[in-house]
Structures are given as C-alpha cells and as structure tokens.
Amino acid sequence: EAGVTQFPSHSVIEKGQTVTLRCDPISGHDNLYWYRRVMGKEIKFLLHFVKESKQDESGMPNNRFLAERTGGTYSTLKVQPAELEDSGVYFCASSQGGQGNTEAFFGQGTRLTVV
C-alpha cells in the first residue's frame, strides 16, 4: 500500500514568488492534515480537512497560505507571495478515523527554502 506522498521533496524559491505543495494521502483516508516545522522548532499544525471540507484551519499563519482539497483526494498548499519566514519543512498526514483515535501517517515532507 502506498503511503502519504508529497511533492516536491525540496523547493527553493525567491521571496515574492509562488509555490504550490502537493500531498497525496493514503487511499480511503478522509482526514488530511498539514503541518510545518520551522528550523529547530516544534512541528506546528496548519489545517485539517475532512474529505473536501476544512474542519480546522486555525493554524494557518495568514492569508498568503491557501489550502485546497478538491474532490476529497489530494491536497495542495499554495504560498503566495512567499516570505523568508515561510521557510521550513511542510508535512502532510492522513488518517482514517479521527486523528486522536487512529494514528496519522505522515509523508516525507517538503523542504521549502525562500531566499
């Protein structure tokens, strides 16, 4: 069974450019989560989809970040325009049931560097 896959694995962009990260969850998983780890700090929650609906987007830092999950399958996270402080590793995770009850499966992450 394929795990959670994320594209690209690395991205280096200039400040002010746009970047789109993609996450393909495990097939059949309704729950999809985005997290971010800034260098050396804790992994922080960004948002949670249940199928195509945003269940919780309390962690989205500002309106430069836009997440979508059309059709309830894969998800994209767009950063526009990117700022230096957006650099970090962006993780996607998926789970079948509620994440608190069923463990979440994480992707390898996308390392974003804004220069």
Binding site: V50, A93, G97, G98, G100, E103, F106
Partner: protein, 113 residues
C-alpha cells in the same frame, strides 16, 4: 492552551544501555498522547499512543512509554538501545479525537556503539 515540552534537545546513550526520552504535556481534559520518530530523509513514523487504559504502552521497535497523570508526563523508554535507534523523536498530544496534534520540539537521540 495545549502544549508539549521535550526538555532535552539531545540524548546520548551507549548501545545496550537503557534509554529515556522525556515528555511532559499540558492539556485540559483527558489527553491522547503519541510518540513519533523521524529517521534521516524520512517522514514521521508512528511509534505508539496512549488513549486510555493501561498506563504502560508498548509500541514499535521495542519502545514503550508510561503515562503518568499526576506528573503529566509520557516518557519514552527502551530497555536496550540500538545504534539504529538514532533519530529525531517527537512527542505529541491531542485533546480531541480527530483533533490536531500538538508537538514538542523534538529530541535527537544518538546511540553510540
């Protein structure tokens, strides 16, 4: 507010010795507690979880963790460390089923032969 603290940035142990990676949490209500591990160039892998029941939870690769409600701790342990256990370990808590995970800062475990 929910929070998780991993007081040690790095833990060094000799192969064959027991290891402990510490975690304390703050959350209202009953917590759901997790440990994840990240090997180099890999994603986060689930190790174990505490939902309810027995305070001692056993997980993957011989790891276990003990839930201590009075001390609000969930320390990760292994009786005999392996060099291959060297990785970054994250403790996480959730207040609700299906809710977001709150992570600690991570602890780098280094096991030397």
């Amino acid at each position: 507010a929910q929070s998780v603290a991993q007081p040690e940035d790095q833990v060094n142990v000799a192969e064959g010795n027991p290891l402990t990676v510490k975690c304390t949490y703050s959350v209202s209500g009953n917590p759901y507690l997790f440990w994840y591990v990240q090997y180099p160039n890999r994603g986060l892998q689930f190790l174990l979880k505490y939902i309810t029941g027995d305070n001692l939870v056993k997980g993957s690769y011989g790891f276990e963790a003990e839930f201590n409600k009075s001390q609000t701790s969930f320390h990760l342990k292994k009786p005999s460390a392996l060099v291959s256990d060297s990785a970054l370990y994250f403790c996480a808590v959730s207040r609700l089923q299906g809710g977001k995970l709150i992570f600690g800062q991570g602890t780098e475990l280094s096991v030397k032969p």
